[in-house]
Symmetry: C2
Subunit: 222 residues, 2 copies
């Protein structure tokens, strides 16, 4: 059965997945760029953005897992861009340039309708305005037997965690203190219940943690 997975989701030591005040100049909020230094040092991420070199150790092993067997991605609207409220026009097409590193359908959760955008390299952004279950159904359909990944951000992961829909989650906890911003483990009403830590290993740059459902729990909805 296809799974819903989170990969390479990076959190500061003090628990923040993004700094405050996201803007076009600070896609991950003020200070948030430091979160992903570990990932951009890996061979996998560098190749994704057509750069040579990069490390091939533990960080790379985890980074590479994020694409294996994934057929579609779901993300929150704030991960897609800095615009809030209604779309002003159709010029914003994401942070990733003409060829986003997805190469498959991406479902963007939003309250504001917008036609799909087909990008170079096989990525199509679809805008879903009728909730996380609808987005998940569309994504599993598009993935056609492969797994679906939740890209982020924190609020989107929280919604799927609360609904009991996430099967496994890889987090990278990094030696960075942000002080404020968006927490991953927040608004969970006692969650993440029903998960246990199945990997716990660090490089000098990141602690890699993998959470999976406990064997006695099962998805609430599917």
């Amino acid at each position: 059965m296809p799974k819903l997975r989170v990969h390479n989701f990076t959190v500061s030591l003090d628990g923040y997945a993004a700094g405050p005040d996201q803007s076009i100049d600070n896609p991950l909020g003020v200070g948030g760029g430091a979160l992903h230094e570990w990932a951009f040092a890996t061979r996998t991420l560098r190749q994704m953005f057509h750069m040579d070199g990069g490390d091939e150790g533990l960080d790379d092993t985890f980074a590479a897992q994020g694409d294996v067997g994934i057929g579609a991605t779901i993300m929150g609207r704030n991960m897609f861009g800095p615009i809030r409220g209604s779309w002003l026009d159709d010029t914003w097409t994401g942070w990733w340039g003409d060829e986003p590193p997805y190469h498959h359908p991406v479902f963007v959760l939003t309250h504001h309708r917008r036609p799909p955008i087909s990008m170079q390299g096989g990525t199509t952004f679809h805008f879903i305005d009728n909730g996380i279950d609808a987005a998940l159904a569309r994504a599993f359909d598009a993935a056609d037997g492969d797994d679906v990944r939740i890209g982020g951000g924190a609020a989107t992961i929280q919604q799927y965690l609360c609904a009991g829909l996430i099967d496994e989650m890889h987090l990278a906890i990094v030696p960075v203190l942000l002080g404020r911003g968006e927490r991953l483990f927040d608004h969970l009403d006692g969650g993440p219940a029903g998960y246990e830590c199945v990997d716990f290993v660090s490089s000098p740059s990141a602690l890699h943690v993998r959470l999976a459902r406990t064997t006695d729990s099962s998805p609430k909805v599917r």
Copy 2:
């Protein structure tokens, strides 16, 4: 110059230093006991409680550092016991039996006066009702040139962090999800500003993190 240090302060993957609903049956709140399994597996902690055996690896190295050069301890009243409000009588003398593992003066922050208690093995509990600065002055005086340790809990550490008084802090982040409870990194108003991560290394049981002042910051008060 003597330092104010935190050691072996353990936090769950989701950021909690204690579970909810602390009580005499759950000194660390519901589920909180799992936080300290790494520590009680070490030779250092087992010796502290007069038990044989225990691991001697990375966890033990960090555990042992917590006592080196420490001459006094400060703790919050909730770390001392489950009683809230006025002391009902003098029967509660801490969680640690007749011979607490401190063997030096311990200053307990409280709003409710109480005479000192001398325990076996050299621990004396002093109750300080005029604030964190007064407690710190008393503790440095008692330590007589040695360092002072803050034992916890989260609220006590937060107060000293906000005041810029902590020099270094060792945290153990463990593969446990508590879901709710008392967060360490909370109520900090943008803090812990002025600290950087100088150690970041994991065993299978804990990620050990050491935070120290950045070289360009200095104590706000001393």
